[in-house]
C-alpha cells in the first residue's frame, strides 16, 4: 500500500505545488526520491509529532495541503489532542497518514501495534477515516481525502490481498459480494484478506458466506447498507482493531438503528488487550482469533 501511496503522492504533488509531505523522521529509503524531486513540498520535522500536527495546521491555514506521515500510533495517539483541537475544530485540509495498521509491525512490540486507532479516531468529530482494503483503492481514497477540504486519516496496512479489485471503493461506499445463504462478513482494511480466504475455505465446506467491505465509518449511505444487510440472518464483522468502539460497534449500532429486526451478530476483533509475546502480523492475527481459520472454525461451529 505504501508504494501506491507514494506514486499517488508523486502525481498529486506534480499537479499541485501546495501539496506537502511532512514526516516525523520516518520513511528512510522511501521518500528520498520524492524529496529530491519536490524539495519544497517535503518537510521532515524530526521526532516531534505534536509539533508536526501544529505545523501542518499552520501550513493548512496558509493554503497548503499537508500529508502528515508516521507509523503505528505515532501520528495519531501521540498527538491526538492537536488533531482534535487544531485540525478538526478548524476543519483544516490535512491528511494524517498512519503506516502500519494493526499488527503490521508485529514483532517490534506493543508500542508499534496500531490496534485502537479506528476506535479512537472515529470518535473525533470532523475527522474522516480512509481505510484502504488493498493496494487497488489506495489511490482513490487518497485523492478523495485530498479534495474533501477537511481533516482525514489514511490507514495503510502491510498485509492485504490484491485478489479482488476494489479500485472503485471510495470512502462513502461499500463493496458487497452477495452469495447464496444468510451469512455475511463485513470487514475493513487489509484484514479483509482473511475474510476473503475464509469465504473460499467455507465454500469448500459447502457453506456460502457473503462478503462486505467498508473503507470508513459514518457512511452517508447507511440506510442502504442496513437494507442490504437485512437480507442476512447472521452478520459478522472483522477488524484488526479492538472490539471496543470500532467496526463492530459501528455496524451493531447501524443495524439496531435502521432495522426492525436485527440479525444475530458477532464481532471478530481484538478482545484480549495487550500481549507480552510478539510475532508476524499473520501470527498475531491468529493469536487474537481474527484470522481466516478462526472465522472458518466459528462459522462451521455455529452454522453446520
Amino acid at each position: 500500500m505504501r508504494s501506491e501511496f507514494l506514486s499517488t503522492l508523486f502525481d498529486l504533488a506534480s499537479n499541485d505545488p501546495k501539496i506537502i509531505l511532512i514526516t516525523a523522521d520516518l520513511g528512510f529509503s522511501v521518500f528520498e526520491e520524492y524529496e529530491s524531486k519536490y524539495p519544497l513540498q517535503y518537510l521532515n520535522v524530526g521526532v516531534s509529532e505534536q509539533n508536526m500536527i501544529g505545523v501542518a495546521g499552520g501550513l493548512a491555514l496558509d493554503g497548503w495541503k499537508p500529508f502528515c506521515y508516521s507509523i503505528g500510533n505515532f501520528p495519531t495517539l501521540r498527538c491526538l489532542e492537536q488533531i482534535r483541537n487544531i485540525l478538526c475544530y478548524h476543519s483544516l485540509n490535512v491528511t494524517i497518514v498512519g503506516m502500519g495498521a494493526g499488527f503490521s509491525y508485529g514483532s517490534l512490540g506493543f508500542s508499534h501495534h496500531a490496534t485502537e486507532d479506528l476506535s479512537i479516531l472515529s470518535a473525533v468529530p470532523n475527522l474522516d477515516l480512509f481505510v484502504p482494503t488493498n493496494s487497488t483503492n489506495v489511490s482513490k481514497l487518497m485523492r478523495e481525502a485530498c479534495v474533501i477540504n477537511k481533516p482525514s486519516y489514511l490507514r495503510l496496512d502491510k498485509s492485504y490481498s490484491d485478489s479482488i479489485d476494489v479500485s472503485f471503493l471510495g470512502r462513502n461506499e461499500y463493496y458487497l459480494d452477495k452469495k447464496e445463504g444468510n451469512i455475511v462478513i463485513i470487514s475493513i482494511g487489509g484484514i479483509s484478506e482473511e475474510a476473503i480466504h475464509a469465504q473460499t475455505i467455507l465454500h469448500e465446506h459447502s457453506l456460502s458466506i457473503s462478503l462486505c467491505i467498508l473503507s470508513s465509518f459514518n457512511l452517508e449511505c447507511e440506510k442502504r447498507l442496513a437494507n442490504d444487510l437485512s437480507d442476512f440472518d447472521h452478520v459478522y464483522t472483522l477488524e484488526e482493531n479492538t472490539i471496543n468502539g470500532g467496526l463492530g460497534s459501528y455496524i451493531a449500532l447501524l443495524l439496531s438503528t435502521h432495522l426492525k429486526k436485527s440479525p444475530t451478530f458477532h464481532s471478530f476483533a481484538i478482545k484480549s488487550g495487550f500481549t507480552s509475546f510478539v510475532g508476524s502480523q499473520q501470527f498475531l492475527r491468529k493469536s487474537h482469533h481474527i484470522d481466516s481459520q478462526s472465522i472458518v472454525e466459528y462459522v462451521l461451529k455455529n452454522h453446520s
Binding site: 509539533n51 505545523v55 491555514l61 497548503w64
Partner: protein, 264 residues
Amino acid sequence: MSSDPQISRLRILELVSKAKSSHIGSAYSCVDIIEAILSCKSLEFDFTIPNSDVFILSKGHAGIALYVILEQLGLSLNDDLNSFYQNESIFSGHVSHHASQHIPLSTGSLGMGLSVASGIAFSRKIQGCSSKSRIICLMSDGELNEGSNWEAFLFAAHHKLDNLVFIIDRNGLQSMKSTEQTLAIEPLSSKLKAFNLNVVSVDGHNHAEILSALFHSYSESRPLAIIASTLKGKGVSYMEDSVEWHYRTPTDDLYRTAQTELLR
C-alpha cells in the same frame, strides 16, 4: 480607533463579572502586550488578507483580553461582545476563531499555538514572502511546562524563522503556585538562547519597550523571543501578583473597588 489599557481593563472587569468567569488575572497581565501589538499602525492582523501579519493567542484563557481590545480598536467581531460566555455565545472563555477574522486560531489547551505559528511562518518563508509579515504568538510562562512548546522552538530555530516572534507573558505565576515553585523555568533567557532564539527582555506593561523589541531586535535567521515581565492581575491592587485571581470572579465590593481603581 485607539484603545486605552485602563478602559480595556474596565471592560474586561464588566464582562468577567457579568459572566462569573475565571482568568481575569491572566487577562490583565497581557492587556498591554496585546494593545501594543494590535494598535500598532505597522501591523495588520486580518487573516482574510493574504500575507497579513498574524497574531496567535496561545494562552487562550486570556481570550477576553483579545476580544475586548479588538472591540476597543473597532476591529470586527462577529457578534455583540456583551454575550461573552452566555448561552449560545460565540465568545467562549478561551479564545475562539469564530469570534473574529482577526483571530486565526482557537486555543485553550496550552502549548499548541507555537507550532501553528511556526507552520505559518514556515509557509511564508518558503514562499519567499517572510519579509512582508510578522507571525506573533503570545504564550504564558506556565504554558512553557508543556513539552510541545520546546518542539516548536527547535523547529523554529532549525528553519531560521526570523519572521516569527514568541512573546512570553512572564507574570511568574501559574495555576497553583509560582512558576519557580511548580516547575522552575529559570534561567529562561539562557534556555531560549541555547535553543538559538534571539532573546530580548522587556517590561510587559511598557508599550514602547514592547514595540521597540518587536521592530528593533531583528536578528537574521533567528526567531525572536520576547520575555515580557508582567504582573498577574495588573491594574487592580488586590489582584496583582496573586494566584487566586486566576480563578475568582470579582463581585460586589471587590468589583466596586476594582472599578474605582481602574477609573483613577
